[in-house]
Symmetry: none
Subunit: 190 residues, 4 copies
Amino acid sequence: MKLRDENKVPQIYQATLKLVRASGIAGITMQAVAKEAKIATGTLYIYFNNKESLLVGLFNECAKNSASGFFRNYDPGGPFKTGFRTIWLNILQYRISHFEEMLFIEQFFTSPYIEEATKMAVKKIFDPLRELIQRGKDEHLIKDIDSFWLLTFMTGNINEIAKRIHYFNKKLTPEIEDLNFQLCWDGIKS
Amino acid sequence: MKLRDENKVPQIYQATLKLVRASGIAGITMQAVAKEAKIATGTLYIYFNNKESLLVGLFNECAKNSASGFFRNYDPGGPFKTGFRTIWLNILQYRISHFEEMLFIEQFFTSPYIEEATKMAVKKIFDPLRELIQRGKDEHLIKDIDSFWLLTFMTGNINEIAKRIHYFNKKLTPEIEDLNFQLCWDGIKS
Amino acid sequence: MKLRDENKVPQIYQATLKLVRASGIAGITMQAVAKEAKIATGTLYIYFNNKESLLVGLFNECAKNSASGFFRNYDPGGPFKTGFRTIWLNILQYRISHFEEMLFIEQFFTSPYIEEATKMAVKKIFDPLRELIQRGKDEHLIKDIDSFWLLTFMTGNINEIAKRIHYFNKKLTPEIEDLNFQLCWDGIKS
Amino acid sequence: MKLRDENKVPQIYQATLKLVRASGIAGITMQAVAKEAKIATGTLYIYFNNKESLLVGLFNECAKNSASGFFRNYDPGGPFKTGFRTIWLNILQYRISHFEEMLFIEQFFTSPYIEEATKMAVKKIFDPLRELIQRGKDEHLIKDIDSFWLLTFMTGNINEIAKRIHYFNKKLTPEIEDLNFQLCWDGIKS
DNA sequence: GATGAATGAGCCTTCATTCAT
DNA sequence: TATGAATGAAGGCTCATTCAT
């Protein structure tokens, strides 16, 4: 008996992300995914019930990966600014190195595939960051503003940096990291 | 294509934007656009050569509209911070009140329809802002950083605010304007 | 403007029936129907929402046609036996000359497409016959048996004759009509 | 194909019949049969070369079963009417209790799977009945009519009874047996 | 110019059949 | 032998585009 190939799902996810990069979520066809993943169309349906399942599965995978990437090396017990910078940089670097995931997530959010429940689940990814921000406010290190807007400020900036790095073929040097972090930090610090 | 009925094109654009809002750029079909615009499918092809033309046309229209919206009431001769705040607020308000356009532009950027030339053309919209920023640097009012990143910082933040206002059903009160502008300003000021 | 071709629907129905004859209801594919009707596949979907609609539509058409065929030249005021023979012969002749319809109806009944409501509606076609049979019983000309079984007897026989005429390449001569009617009549007469 | 597990084939046949009952011959897929028979898809191909083999095999099995069912307790040496009634009742009861087989056979006849040879082979099943009918004619007990039509008359009626018993949820009581046999007998008797 | 029916390539999905284990 | 994953050719349906009116 041939066992279910444990490698197929990641393989399929990779193929899908590659297509997203090339022509957006609208450009994803099951045929194209299969071809890119070097399997037959029918095989896709062994691992996923339908196209929606595939996309939702990939979305969840991306969300999970992000979560672990964002908080790598982050020590909740350390000083605020250290932690904040670590997370800021993690997110930025993750977004850049996993740019396809970012594109996919963004487009998935405006696609007919997403459900309200999923949207809400994603918010939780940032919970550790939300807690850190709260601590920063408690310690009077950053502005006493609704965390919602502080998060908006921070992520909006990071996303845009990531996009422009890609779209304008820039490199993320330490200098550019510093410079952009400085803008962010000066904005939120009290 | 002879444009007889000058009213049809805006009508078609409006219909298209409405569809984008409802189900993303992938939800745009010529049939759906025609129906929404209350004309026949064939008629679309009198005003546009094909689907791509329509989308590109709409994109340009959006770009043009944005340009005029962004610099409304802006006096290049006035004080830096006044001008900067005016533009900042114009962009934010425009993005919120023309949210469909924003969605469309964003999705168009990642679609197979966009061409490199178009991307570059869009950059020009921000030229007056770029000049203002240069002046701010010359007057030592803001950080002496590559304008590219200052612009990135500013627009990334604005876009994210606009999105969150919509997705989380927030209202843009003067307080929220002030608070967010403060974050931005503290970030860039020298 | 091109008007909806009033001829298309009958044309499509004919093509469908032809296919049923050739390879059963399971052999009906939209592609095959289109090809047989000499139109494009997409055109089918202008006239029918989907395959089911087409089949249901055809079924209703067949039912309607049958109804009018069965009671041609039938005078409810005439003598019982005359009326009974007229209807008996009408049904038989109709089934033979519209054999494809008969096949289709029979197979449609065992297909996943039929709904309970439709089944019931079909029963009504035989109402005039049911009334006549009742009259026959009232006039003590035929056996006083539940009409359900009298109808079963009559139609079961007719259907089988029609099938065998076709499957064994027989001709329906007046002699064969008489002979078979005699069997039926001797069965039901009191 | 080496038939090791002699139990598998009947198991597969049963599964197939169950599917026919549920959704017609069109509803038979190899995957579904395998699932219903609780074996793997591949296993089907150990016992049958392909789908057609399976269906043809089942058809022959049904034909064989019918043959033995139809002539159970029939004594060719007994009086004509006794024998005729025995067979009449056997066929009716068999059709009702093996309704799925009847459905399958009927649908198989109009499917693309059947071949002319098979059709002819089936005719032989009724040979003992044909002989009995001939004897009835020789003994002047029944009408002197082509046996072809006498058989048509008899079987058409039986089939229709069986169908209606199922479709209208009737029970086959002795009264209903008698009543229907009377109709048939009065029809054919001389 | 305006209409909407007509077209057919292409998309999602199913399914008979094969094959590696 | 038995398994079920893998394959790819259709099948149902959609949609950009054309064309007759």
